[in-house]
Symmetry: C2
Subunit: 395 residues, 2 copies
């Protein structure tokens, strides 16, 4: 009999993931994943850059490398954040990780004892919950509206709950809700946290994908005390298949991430780090991003338009100003897990909302991704879901 | 004040790592790292393969991918092991990880509760100790001779110590000692473990780098009960900079690795997995490996010859039949940390042996790597170390 660690009781297979395994069939219209549009990946440019990397520094790119990451890439990432957000980071504040998911796992490993409390938005990113759960924390949801966490409710929790170690946030185009925190909420949140010895994790993979409204400063830009750990990612603005994300944090905190990464996988691939670094020298990443924004805006519009027409009157849905997702709240009597089963038979998929609530609930909610399907498929898929909802309601 | 998890007390910076940071200076002769020879990386072939991958399946290679790894690569790795070792693995027994170091970390996460016991060779691989320590096990060393773990001593420990969860082994060209387990020892070890509900981790990054003697079957080849977890790596036989390793295990155990990887980093880079997979289709990996073997054999010979001449009479050193390292035992009065300080001033580096003993000791030992330096540098470096030893002895 194989004896696993106790923590594995908290690391479970997801029934929904099993269900959704069939969504890679070509006939399927899938709004389930969080996949970027692959037709926008800069494949031609990458051919050029990859050959150049192998010609100019092949031996170095293919050798073992430093745990912190490739120095010039760390510097460019820090510089880019400083220019865009007014942060004051240097390369020494940045460590490269295998996608920001790895930053989440390391955060759990570095900070969480069993029973420590994490606060999060409600709903929140499922993958973060998965990463944290292995360290057996108590996860409490902070009530959230369209502008972010409700600060009076947050304050009550901060004043009444023991052992709060960190607050997990996605201020821009949140996964799963598509909502963004208002500027006032960001400032108020940071003011409320000052001097409390509680860490803030700012997960920001979508921040650069704004296609409407003004850019809002990340929490990290307000962080004079060094308690914000910023997780960045190139997966949504460049490509996910190279697994490059970063942690930006206070230097003393970042040292712990470096030690943990040393034990976890030695370092991220030098080959892909050098490719991205050279890409940033030869091409303007912002050009790629503005192409992505244009396409995603059209897809969002197509989805929201179709929802307005095809879903029952009174259906609530968010109006994301960027990112990849919208969030639907159906009539209370509709169970979206059951709806998913119906929809899969019609070759259309989404993710039911319940798993995004760490303590249950949201059985009538769902997350829809619009970045990975062309507009005509979006229209057709939403029509199919709308029909399925209609049939469930009439039963 | 930042409050870290208790486990971080066991995740410490290494003073030796700090010392060795200077070894990437060009004037340094370094026997310290475990670096393969970069001049043997197949850079030209990789240019060809990478372009082909981007042309034939760029969008797929750059997109999110499955946690288990790229199916065809998993199949090739299983097939390759079956052919070489007579194992009976299918793709379903293989998960791709970011270097076998990630397999070590996941092993700790999946199996270890605080206070569980790990048995290991004495000395053993420092990076495995680093990975495991974060899960706060008790680590006990099994006395070891030139043929592997001493089975009578192992049996005593098995019969007298509680909470033994797993045994960590490197049967081929061990890091740090360069020793390999004899065929008899392998068979006897597996017989001794049968029916005990103890897992065996077989770490095998060097196995294909044999340049003398006959290939010996891995422990996994004896594993009829499914208690051996095999960790493979392409870092030493292809290149480390793509971070590709694998876990080969019983299907039910591997499911846990997949769940943990899902939370830890979603998946390994599809881009590099597809490059390696196509490389294995277009080229014969064994051709590359036989080139590496020839070069390393010469370097080993150069190092052992120089040690015989330059080090004090009576110095013990191992005669590795493959791999990257030899292991030195100096006169008991010589502290190799102090020797390292002397040597760094002369621009030659190695790793003192003490950190490879989880419970201390071995202050007069050192690990020497011969794969990363040309023969003339090896001769010169060993001469410099020999002189430094001589001076310490005469003081």
């Amino acid at each position: 009999m194989v004896r696993y660690a106790n923590r594995m009781e908290n690391v479970k297979a997801s029934d929904i993931r099993e269900l959704l395994k069939i969504t890679d069939r070509p006939e399927m219209i899938s709004f389930a994943g969080g996949l970027p549009a692959p037709e926008l990946f800069p494949v031609e440019r990458l051919k050029d850059v990859t050959v150049r990397v192998l010609e100019s520094c092949g031996s170095e790119a293919l050798q073992y490398a430093t745990t912190e990451g490739f120095g010039p890439l760390r510097m460019k990432i820090a510089g880019r954040m400083n220019k865009k957000y007014g942060t004051r980071l240097s390369a020494r504040n940045v460590m490269i990780v295998c996608g920001s998911q790895q930053g989440l796992d390391f955060t759990g490993k570095i900070f969480l004892n069993e029973g420590d409390v994490i606060l999060c938005e409600s709903p929140t990113y499922l993958g973060a919950l998965n990463a944290f759960k292995a360290y057996r924390p108590r996860i409490l949801e902070v009530p959230t509206d369209d502008d972010g966490m409700l600060l009076d409710r947050l304050e009550e929790i901060l004043d009444s709950v023991d052992r709060i170690k960190l607050i997990y946030t996605i201020p821009d185009f949140q996964n799963p809700s598509g909502r963004s925190w208002s500027a006032e909420r960001r400032a108020g949140f940071m003011k409320l946290l000052a001097g409390r010895d509680i860490l803030v994790v700012e997960d920001a993979p979508y921040s650069e994908l704004r296609f409407e409204g003004d850019m809002l400063p990340p929490l990290k830009a307000f962080d004079t005390e060094g308690f914000v750990i910023y997780l960045g990612s190139l997966s949504k603005v460049f490509c996910p298949g190279m697994r490059i994300g970063w942690v930006a944090a206070d230097e003393r905190i970042l040292e712990k991430y470096v030690l943990v990464k040393q034990g976890a996988d030695l370092h991220s691939a030098g080959f892909t780090q050098r490719i991205i670094s050279m890409y940033m020298d030869l091409y303007e990443l912002d050009d790629d991003i503005s192409k992505i924004r244009k396409v995603y805006k059209k897809r969002r519009d197509a989805m929201l338009d179709a929802i307005s027409v095809e879903f029952p009157a009174g259906t609530k849905f968010t109006h994301p100003q960027g990112g990849l997702f919208t969030w639907i709240e159906l009539d209370e009597n509709i169970n979206t897990r059951e709806l998913l089963a119906e929809c899969l038979e019609r070759n259309v998929a989404f993710v039911p909302g319940e798993p995004f609530f760490p303590n249950g609930g949201g059985r009538n909610t769902m997350r829809l991704n619009y970045s990975n399907m062309p507009e005509e498929k979006i229209a057709e898929g939403i029509r199919l879901i709308g029909t399925a909802i209609g049939e469930m309601v009439s039963r």
